[in-house]
C-alpha cells in the first residue's frame, strides 16, 4: 500500500532535527500513515506537543500544530478539545516531557477519559539537553546525571496510563513499524483517552553511554526485549523474564468520554435555567 506522505509533510520544513538512528521519524511516518489511512482532514486535526526532541514533531506535519511549554501538552490539548470537541486532537512527546514534568497533566488527562490520543516516544532519556536520566530510565543505567548508575526506578508508562484511567493503552516499539501503524490507527479511532507508548531509542545520548555499539544493536534490543501480548499468553514466566509486552494492553469500551459528559452538563444547566 502506498501512502501520501508529501500531503502531510510541511513543505520546506525538512530535514528534521533528529539524529541518525533516532526512532522519532519512524513514529512520525506511522502517524502520517494513520492519518492517510483514516482520511483525516488537516484543518480538523490538531497535534499538540511539549518540549524536547519528540515534541518537535508537530512542526513537520501540515495541520493545526501547537508546540507548547515543557510538560504542558496534555493541558493545552485539553483546552483545545474542550473548545472544539469535533477536532481530532493528538498529543506527542517524549517520556520526560509527558511523565516527569508533565506527569500530573498526563494522569489527569487519562482520568478524565478525554477523547484524545497521547503518543509517548519513550527513549528513556532527556535527549535534547544532552542525556540526563528521565523518569523512565532503567535502574542502573548511565546518563549524564547518573554517572555511577541510575538509583531511580523507572515508570511503566503504559501501566501508569491504565492506572490513571485511560480507556485504550497500547505499546509498540520503533523497531516494529507496521505494528505502530495499527496501534495508532486503533488509538485515534478509540472514543475516549488513548495512550500509545512507543519504545524508542536515542543512540546519541543513551546508546553510547550504555554500551550499545551501534544503532542496529539498539534496534535489535527493542526487538529482543519485547513480546507481543498474544504471544506472551503462551509463554512461561521464565520465558517472559525481562521482556516487555507490546500490542493493545488495555481496552475499555462503553465508558463515556469527557466532552460527551460535559455536553450533558450543558444540557442540565440549560434545563435548570428554563
Amino acid at each position: 500500500m502506498s501512502y501520501d506522505y508529501e500531503k502531510w509533510i510541511r513543505p520546506g520544513k525538512l530535514p528534521h532535527i533528529w539524529c541518525p538512528g533516532c526512532g522519532h521519524g519512524i513514529v512520525m511516518k506511522g502517524l502520517i500513515r494513520a492519518f492517510d489511512t483514516l482520511g483525516f482532514k488537516k484543518e480538523n486535526t490538531c497535534i499538540v506537543s511539549g518540549i524536547g526532541c519528540a515534541s518537535r514533531l508537530p512542526g513537520y506535519i501540515d495541520c493545526c500544530t501547537l508546540h507548547t511549554a515543557h510538560g504542558r501538552a496534555a493541558a493545552f490539548a485539553t483546552g483545545v478539545k474542550m473548545a472544539r470537541p469535533e477536532m481530532d486532537v493528538i498529543c506527542v512527546g517524549g517520556d520526560g516531557d509527558g511523565c516527569a514534568i508533565g506527569g500530573n497533566h498526563f494522569i489527569h488527562m487519562c482520568r478524565r477519559n478525554i477523547d484524545m490520543t497521547y503518543i509517548v516516544m519513550n527513549n528513556k532519556i532527556y535527549g535534547m539537553t544532552g542525556g540526563q536520566f528521565s523518569s523512565s530510565t532503567p535502574t542502573g543505567a548511565k546518563a549524564s546525571t547518573t554517572p555511577y548508575g541510575n538509583p531511580d526506578p523507572a515508570f511503566d508508562i503504559a501501566k501508569l496510563a491504565i492506572g490513571a484511567g485511560a480507556t485504550f493503552v497500547a505499546r509498540g516499539t520503533a523497531f516494529h513499524a507496521t505494528q505502530i501503524d495499527k496501534l495508532i490507527v486503533e488509538a485515534v479511532q478509540h472514543k475516549g483517552m488513548s495512550v500509545v507508548e512507543i519504545l524508542d531509542d536515542c543512540p546519541t545520548t543513551y546508546g553510547r553511554r550504555n554500551k550499545f555499539k551501534s544503532v542496529v544493536e539498539m534496534m535489535n534490543n527493542l526487538k529482543e526485549t519485547t513480546v507481543p501480548v498474544k504471544a506472551a499468553e503462551k509463554m512461561t514466566p521464565e520465558q517472559l523474564q525481562g521482556k516487555v509486552l507490546t500490542g493493545v494492553l488495555y481496552k475499555e469500551e462503553g465508558r463515556s468520554d469527557y466532552t460527551t459528559e460535559y455536553a450533558k452538563v450543558i444540557e442540565r444547566a440549560q434545563a435548570a435555567k428554563k
Binding site: 510541511r10 520544513k13 488537516k42 484543518e43 480538523n44 490538531c46 499538540v48 508537530p58 512542526g59 501540515d62 495541520c63 493545526c64 500544530t65 501547537l66 508546540h67 507548547t68 511549554a69 504542558r72 496534555a74 493541558a75 493545552f76 490539548a77 485539553t78 483546552g79 483545545v80 478539545k81 474542550m82 473548545a83 472544539r84 469535533e86 477536532m87 500530573n104 497533566h105 494522569i107 489527569h108 460535559y262 452538563v265 450543558i266 442540565r268 444547566a269 440549560q270 435548570a272 435555567k273
Partner: protein
C-alpha cells in the same frame, strides 16, 4: 425597562463581567481568595453553552485557557498569589505566542502561602516582571464591585484587541466585598472580538504584520491551519534564531502595548488640580485614600487622589507632569513599596514620595493617610 440590579461580591461580578464580554471557557484551580470566580463560572458558563473545567493544577489551568483561546474561545482563568507564581511560565507563552486570555488574580498576602485570607497588593510587580523575558504587560486594578465587572469586560476587549494576556488584579478586599451592581444591557459596553484573518487559509500566516503590529488570529478548527510555538518565531509561526527577526519580533510584541498606551491606560484624578499633596493609590487602598482626601480638604489641607485603574502600562508622563506642581506624593499600599518605586521612577526627583505600607493583612486605614498628610504638609 429598568436595568437588572444585584447586590454582589466582587468575585461574583468578575465572573458575570467575563460572560458579558463573551467568555465561553474557564479553566482554574481552587485557591483562596479567588475561588468564587470559578464557582460562579461553573454555574453560569454551561447555561450559555460555555465550558468550565477544574484542572489538576494552576499550570494546567493556564495551559488549558491558552489552548481553548487558540481554538477560538474567549477564555478566563482566576487565581491568587501562589497560583500566579505557578502560572508565570505559561503566561509568558501567551505573550510570545500572542494568545488573548484574561487572568484574574485576587491579591492576598505573600510570598509563598503567606496570608491566604488577608488582603494584599503585592503582586503588582509580578504582573509585569513575573514571567521571564521581555514581554508586554497589561494589568487592571479595579476598586469596586461595579468596576470589577466593567474592567473584566475591558480586560477581554484589550486581550482580544491586542492579542495578548491581560491581568485583572483586585485585592482581596475588593474581591470579597459586596456592593450594588447595575448590569449593563447587552451592547451597552462595547465588546471587542479578535480580528479574524481577511486572507484565505492557504495565505494565512499567524504573525503576519502586513496589517500592522497586531496580526489577525485564526482559530484552530475553523478551516485555518498553522503552527504555534513558544520559541522565537517568524511571521509564519515557525521557529527562528535569525537575530534581526528575533529582535524585531520581540520589539513588536512589546510595542503593541507601549504604542497603544493611551488606549489602555485609565485613571481618575480627584481634586488633583490644586493639590499640594497627591495620593497615588489603587484598589481598596484608593477608597481609603479618597476618604482621607475628603477629610484633609475639610481641614484645609490641599490633598488630591490619583487613582490608577490601569496599573500597567503606568501613566508615567502624567505622573511627571503632576510632580512639577506638587509638594509631595503619598503611596498607601498593601505591600512594601511596589507602587512607590514606580512613581519615583517616573518623576525625575521632582517631589518626595512617601509610602504607607501594610503587609500585615490589615487595610490601610484613612486615618494613617491623613496623619501622613499632616506630617508632610
Amino acid at each position: 425597562m429598568s436595568k437588572k440590579v444585584a447586590f454582589l461580591q466582587g468575585n461574583e461580578a468578575a465572573a458575570h463581567g467575563a460572560i458579558y464580554a463573551g467568555c465561553t471557557f474557564f479553566a482554574g484551580y481552587p485557591i483562596t481568595p479567588s475561588t468564587e470566580i470559578a464557582e460562579v463560572c461553573s454555574v453560569e458558563l454551561p447555561k450559555v453553552g460555555g465550558k468550565f473545567i477544574q484542572m489538576e493544577d494552576e499550570i494546567g489551568a493556564m495551559s488549558a485557557v491558552l489552548g481553548a483561546s487558540l481554538a477560538g474561545a474567549k477564555a478566563l482563568t482566576a487565581t491568587s498569589g501562589p497560583g500566579l507564581s505557578l502560572k508565570q511560565e505559561i503566561i509568558g507563552y501567551g505573550c510570545i505566542a500572542e494568545i488573548p486570555v484574561v487572568i484574574i488574580d485576587i491579591m492576598r498576602g505573600g510570598p509563598s502561602t503567606g496570608m491566604p485570607t488577608g488582603p494584599s497588593q503585592s503582586d503588582i510587580m509580578a504582573a509585569k516582571w513575573g514571567t521571564h523575558g521581555d514581554h508586554p504587560a497589561i494589568c487592571l486594578v479595579p476598586a469596586s464591585v461595579q468596576e470589577i465587572f466593567d474592567e473584566t469586560v475591558r480586560a477581554f476587549n484589550l486581550a482580544e484587541k491586542y492579542r495578548t494576556p491581560v491581568m485583572v488584579m483586585p485585592d482581596e478586599i475588593v474581591g470579597h466585598m459586596r456592593e450594588r451592581i447595575v448590569f449593563p444591557e447587552p451592547g451597552e459596553i462595547p465588546v471587542i472580538d479578535r480580528t479574524a484573518p481577511s486572507v484565505p487559509p492557504e495565505k494565512y500566516k499567524p504573525y503576519d504584520t502586513s496589517f500592522g503590529d497586531i496580526p489577525p488570529l485564526a482559530a484552530f478548527g475553523s478551516g485555518y491551519k498553522f503552527h504555534v510555538t513558544g520559541l522565537n518565531k517568524m511571521e509564519d509561526g515557525f521557529p527562528t534564531t535569525k537575530a534581526p527577526i528575533v529582535q524585531a519580533e520581540e520589539e513588536r510584541q512589546v510595542r503593541k502595548v507601549e504604542a497603544n498606551k493611551a488606549d489602555i491606560m485609565k485613571w481618575e484624578e480627584y481634586m488633583v488640580d490644586d493639590a499640594e499633596i497627591v495620593v497615588v493609590a489603587f484598589g481598596s487602598t484608593s477608597r481609603s485614600a479618597r476618604f482621607a482626601v475628603n477629610a484633609a480638604r475639610e481641614q484645609g489641607i490641599k490633598a488630591g487622589l490619583f487613582r490608577l485603574i490601569t496599573f500597567w502600562p503606568f501613566p508615567e508622563e502624567r505622573m511627571l507632569e503632576i510632580s512639577k506642581k506638587v509638594k509631595a506624593f503619598i503611596t498607601p499600599e498593601m505591600n512594601l513599596g511596589q507602587c512607590n518605586g514606580v512613581v519615583r521612577g517616573c518623576i525625575e526627583g521632582n517631589a518626595p514620595v512617601y509610602g504607607i505600607y501594610h503587609v500585615d493583612g490589615e487595610p490601610v486605614n484613612p486615618e494613617e493617610i491623613l496623619k501622613k498628610m499632616k506630617e508632610v504638609k
